[in-house]
Symmetry: C2
Subunit: 561 residues, 2 copies
């Protein structure tokens, strides 16, 4: 590349000479904030998230109860090696380079089925970030279930061409051994598996504790994935930032989250696109690409909820020959079919493509997280945005304020956001979940709420969106886009929980009021008894009986408040 | 595609068979909200924006004063044909299909120089959206400067492969004739050019007026591009939404914005990357790709601000042979060079790659927009984020409240955001500009400001970021990412304008206070004069002289307040 300057005075010809392809890797390298790699701190969290998502998806697809190890090892002032290993089915050797060093490559993008990963970008992006900031390679080790040998491959990404460069490829003994931890954070028995995958990336990173940390991400992961066992180890060269001064520097952390249930979530089933979510241009494309030989059979086999009979009815109503070859239809004919489909009543899409967490599991998760005395949860029926089935779940926990001070010094409620069982930590302000929370009138349910803000109170709200395609606001998958259908479902679920909360809050207020009245009256019962005794000239011994009768009356009244 | 279901029980082998490439077109088709095509209303705005950006860039690069025509023609209940034509240098025929029907293709991505377009996505995305929603093709007509024939090409995008499909390609007479308008919106003389490009896309869209409309975008465009002449025409089948009831339905709009200056902005110069913004991995890549034969000459010729002498100094300090072949260096050697570069003092990047609007032009733009009695503007010196030069400009206009009611019933200030001379309308909440505005303590400058919100008052604030690479929060380019260096520069510029505003507000307050006092005293002057006359036993005729002397004293005092 020679030094060039360019000034006004270009021509169409001179401009044409500078037009060229931009590879998707180059694009995201320059725009790495879109992928969640804009700061060393967030980069660490994003890398762990992408690797853990992949491990969980792989284990569940193979029907294996997931056991995952996450290790953060400091290798320099602002450098870490991130290693994530799992007991999954392993990865076929030939696929490893592309899966870990090519953006937009994967198995999840082209199907309609709930999974954590969907784009085929994440883990390769983490490797690309490591390569950019440290010049290192991604090291993958994998042994497939039932195979004798394990392989270890080092790859980098050729960003000009968005394709993998293999640096080394050797056979190795599998059996990496993972540290585990006892309940009090001491080293436990080492853990090892017979098959699985581990990935290690060295990158510029910062380990910080708190709300946006790897610690918090993994903790929330364990909450929404009660079938997951997770071992977490951090080795620092010096104390982590945020460590209190004077405290003994903790140069290592060991923590194990053990699974609470031994059953995998029900497997999600892949579905065909629902006709009402397919736009005209996509219908044209699908009819061009179909393997079916007639329009009727294309409609019946490439879409969900269209039977052979419905397909025939659509063709007849659209005045298009049902036996016409789908790839030979004219634009007018396809538009007629499209309009007829829009006017045809069809069943909603099948929803076994979704695996919601479930009301009971949400309650169990909240109970692990917060010590409250009121819990509730709602799993709404599945519904559809732009043809994509989705489902909203909300859990809520309310801890009675312990003191007047606590009551008057209220903080915003704690909002936990999840999409397809993945915790969302960053970009809360841009998320449909936050927007729906702020949009609900929480004053009607007994919580204070500053205008345009989250409500206040000792409340934890946990919100989950399950979908075959979660519309994230950016490739880093941290916030859900504000589709009206999604906001509406979120609002309905939050309002339902709000109503239940409000009944609880009102009852508590009534109880507190009655308690206060009762306290007053109790104080006067002895005096009242003395008075009665004197007026009725009863013997001293009856005074005790009068007091106890009065107390009984009071208790009875109290119950009827 | 046959109906498939998949359940837990996958193996590494079965998973491998489903791994495949995802084309960047497929990716963005499914994620079109990332590109600004999530609603029919926003889609119309985004399409116009992308086409106008391209036209302006092309004209300026060719040194042509831009004249652009934007036409929105309703073709169905929720369909529009968007046509944008310019008097630019035209496009070489062979380049047209890729420029308009291939994502990630262009001339602006690989250079460091300020321009409106940067990604090579926008206009192809608009065409892809039109194709998806209406099945139509993008129609481009172009005649290059000095050529005899014009050509008209219809293209669609093959989303599976992210490449253009040419539907037709014919020679045509150029000379499209554009409607223009007189100052009162009546049809003016038709406009035509000898060369240029026009692009027409039919798409699902909604035309709505107001803050997030095409109208507003074009108006702001004219403000920040005073060298632009723009003709705008809308033809509706029925009245636009938001039209007041009872008003005569306006089935067409014609508006011309005429250029205020006949000079193009100074051309921006392309620069080489600044060494302090280059990360280790990128340095490795650059040394591998360089055309230079020695490390020393690679350093001197591929980076800005490294002279031959500095290059030699760096090699010596890093203990690496200056004559070493750059592509044969080991990772350790490159890391040593990298570390030495970080420790070497270098001049800041050259800043002629930026073309700021300028303080006077900002004032002129604000004066066109708002009738205020105080205006100010600041153009900060250029600085750098991650090696990329950028520059912040702020303009501010304050209209004195006309009544107490107006003063007490204050609205948030009106914030206009711009990046590389392009108005940003959507996603204000996610933008660094909004964040910096909210972060400044406006109470110190005399404006009310609710906690965590924009200040209140009859103020218009216009903020511009110019950069060789604007880090947008998504591909739709509506909001600037929150890099700390950018927030800091924005804050400093806003504070400078705030200080000036506060001086103006305080002076006004003092003046109002003095005015009030003077009113009081004036009321008592006649009584004072009568009193003095009586005490001093002066004749009646002297009373008038006393009154006028007292008034003179008062005025003098007032001036000294």
């Amino acid at each position: 590349m020679a030094k060039r300057t360019s000034a006004a005075g270009e021509t169409a010809e001179s401009m044409a000479r500078r037009q060229r392809d931009i590879s998707v890797s180059e694009f995201f390298l320059k725009n790495r904030h879109l992928l969640g790699f804009d700061s060393p701190r967030r980069a660490l969290m994003t890398a762990v998230k992408e690797a853990v998502d992949n491990s969980l998806d792989a284990c569940e697809e193979a029907g294996i109860l997931p056991e995952i190890m996450v290790e953060l090892e400091q290798t320099g002032d602002n450098r870490f090696r991130v290693t994530v290993a799992d007991n999954g089915p392993g990865i076929v050797k030939a696929q490893i380079p592309k899966i870990f060093a090519k953006l937009l490559y994967g198995s999840k993008f082209h199907r309609l089925r709930m999974s954590r990963g969907q784009q085929g970008i994440g883990i390769s992006a983490a490797g690309m970030y490591g390569q950019l900031t440290t010049g290192s390679a991604t090291v993958i080790r994998s042994r497939t279930k039932g195979s004798a040998a394990a392989h270890q491959i080092s790859v980098q990404i050729d960003t000009r061409q968005n394709k993998p460069t293999i640096l080394s490829d050797v056979s190795v003994d599998w059996l990496p051994v993972f540290p585990s931890a006892t309940a009090d954070g001491k080293p436990g028995d080492p853990v090892s598996y017979k098959h699985g995958t581990s990935v290690a990336i060295e990158m510029e990173a910062a380990y910080v504790r708190g709300k946006l940390s790897v610690d918090e991400f993994l903790k929330q992961c364990a909450i929404v994935n009660p079938h997951l066992s997770l071992h977490y180890a951090v080795t620092l060269k010096k104390p982590a930032k945020g460590e209190a001064e004077g405290e003994a520097p903790s140069d290592s952390i060991r923590q194990s989250f053990h699974r609470a249930v031994k059953k995998l979530p029900p497997p999600a089933v892949e579905i065909m696109p629902h006709p009402h979510g397919v736009e005209l241009g996509l219908l044209m494309q699908m009819l061009k690409d179909t393997e079916s030989r007639t329009l009727r059979s294309a409609l019946a086999s490439d879409f969900s909820r269209i039977s052979q009979q419905t397909a025939l009815d659509i063709c007849v109503a659209a005045k298009v020959d049902p036996k016409a070859r789908p790839d030979k239809l004219g634009p007018g004919e396809i538009e007629a079919v499209y309009k007829t489909i829009q006017q045809t009543k069809l069943m909603r899409p099948p929803t076994d493509c979704l695996a919601p967490i479930g009301e009971e599991e949400i309650l169990a998760g909240l109970k692990k997280e917060i010590d409250a005395d009121f819990y509730t949860s709602v799993t709404r029926d599945p519904t559809v945005y732009r043809g994509n089935p989705f489902q909203i779940e909300v859990g809520m926990a309310y801890a009675k304020p312990q003191s007047d001070e606590e009551l008057n010094n209220e903080n915003p409620v704690r909002l936990l956001r999840f999409a397809n069982r993945v915790p969302l930590l960053y970009m809360g302000g841009a998320c449909a979940i936050t927007k729906a929370m702020v949009g609900v009138n929480w004053k009607a349910y007994g919580l204070a709420q500053p205008k345009g803000s989250l409500p206040l109170g000792p409340v934890v709200v946990s919100v989950h969106m399950a979908s075959v395609w979660v519309p994230f606001t950016s490739e880093s998958k941290d916030a859900i886009a504000n589709y009206p259908e999604i906001i509406q479902e979120l609002t309905l679920a939050l309002q339902e929980c709000g109503r239940r909360l409000s009944i609880n809050i009102s009852r508590r207020k009534r109880e507190a009021e009655a308690e206060r009245k009762r306290g007053y009256i109790e104080k006067y019962i002895p005096h009242l008894a003395t008075g009665l005794k004197d007026i009725l000239s009863l013997p001293e011994k009856d005074k005790a009986k009068i007091e106890s009768d009065l107390k009984k009356m009071l208790e009875k009244t109290h119950l009827e408040v």
